[in-house]
Amino acid sequence: MDKKSVSRLQACCAVAGCVVLFGAVAVLASAAFSKPLPADLTITRDDIRPSAGGWVVDIVVANHGDLAAAAVDIEGQFGDERSGVSLDYVPGRGEKKVSLVFSGAQKPEPRLRVLGWSEP
């Protein structure tokens, strides 16, 4: 076995590794030992713009809880027309942007709601 003494560069790199490791453990432990809030989703309308197929409604789905929400179904309704979209995940304390399409000539003011989600 080659037992060379520790070089300065090796020691510096090891200190960097130590900082990274303890930092990661601290963040993960803090999340692991706190009581997480369940997923809590809200929708806000971002923009309504014309497109070749009608109108596109851009919306932001925000999760105010700590836990991720999976298989999130969103629905928008304007008059008799419904439009829907699904999201694989919305991370805890995160947000995702999606778009709904309406085919009518009139600019829509849709009623938006989250239909449901599941645990990841």
């Binding site: 076995m1 037992k3 060379k4 790199c13 590794g17 692991a32 999976a70 991370p91 304390r93």
Partner: protein
């Protein structure tokens, strides 16, 4: 003084080359996982305690790999510990850089971002520590030929973890377990054990163990090695959320299916590390 400075510069130069190999090894081993969609999602979808335990449980495995392989020629308790920390730094840097480059790093909360990076950093660190064996061009690098019996089993565990890590997070593993019949799962189990024994002791791979009799080798290495494959597969299923909500039979099927690539990895451990 000049000669001391020259020695210091030469040592630093050699260590920089070792670091380059470490980054190469980290990239080589972790790229499949860094480009796997399920791993990105697990960073924030997995429970924080699962992500934390995965990182902590990886430390002794990385330390053992630093002893037997490592990305530099330095050895000893202190050097092995330093190599482990440096490998983790290499792993974190590689994972962060690539996740940022692919624009898949989730910054919605510190726990999400750190969870994503730490899940990817562990296989990258494994690759960094196997770098000397894989990238130095010298097939005689490494201490694995002098391993004791527990060391042999540890090397099989390291090989099993490497292979299974690449497959454990994927949905396809769950799907195979659902589609496989109980008889099929038993068949996979038998094939895993037979292949593990054949590859290590009969196929003439470089570094294969010299056993007194095939039966003795089967009892001393193949069976304990496969047990380690099953345990490590179960652990990885738990970390990656594949064990959630399963009954005993379904969990057993999932474990046996994942243990199949793990057993190939265990058998080929000498080639990997």
């Amino acid at each position: 003084m000049n000669s001391l400075q020259d020695i210091g510069k030469a040592e630093d130069g050699a260590y920089i080359r070792d670091l380059g190999r470490a980054f190469g090894g980290a990239l080589l081993f972790s790229l499949p996982l860094l480009m796997t969609m399920e791993m990105w999602a697990l960073g924030f979808a997995a429970e924080p305690v699962q992500r934390l335990l995965f990182l902590l449980a990886a430390l002794p495995v990385l330390f053992g790999l630093a002893h037997y392989a490592g990305f530099s020629a330095r050895r000893g308790l202190v050097n092995n510990a330093l190599d482990t920390l440096v490998a983790l730094a290499v792993g974190f840097i590689t994972a962060t850089a690539l996740l940022l480059m692919f624009n898949v790093l989730d910054g919605s909360s510190p726990a999400s971002a750190v969870g994503q990076v730490s899940l990817q950093a562990v296989p990258a660190a494994l690759g960094a520590l196997a770098a000397r064996r894989q990238l130095s061009g010298d097939p005689n690098e490494g201490e694995e030929d002098q391993a004791s019996y527990p060391g042999e089993l540890f090397l099989m565990l390291a090989g099993a973890l490497y292979f299974a890590l690449n497959l454990a997070p994927t949905e396809e593993m769950r799907l195979i377990a659902y589609l496989t019949t109980p008889l099929g799962a038993l068949g996979v189990l038998a094939v895993s054990v037979i292949l593990l024994h054949l590859i290590v002791f009969e196929a003439g791979f470089a570094g294969q163990e010299e056993a007194e009799t095939p039966l003795r080798a089967f009892l001393d290495f193949t069976l304990p090695g496969y047990a380690l494959c099953l345990l490590s597969s179960l652990a990885m299923l738990w970390v990656f959320g594949g064990a959630d909500g399963h009954g005993v039979q379904s969990l057993a099927a999932n474990t046996v299916i994942l243990a199949f690539p793990a057993s190939i990895g265990a058998a080929a451990a000498r080639l990997l590390v």
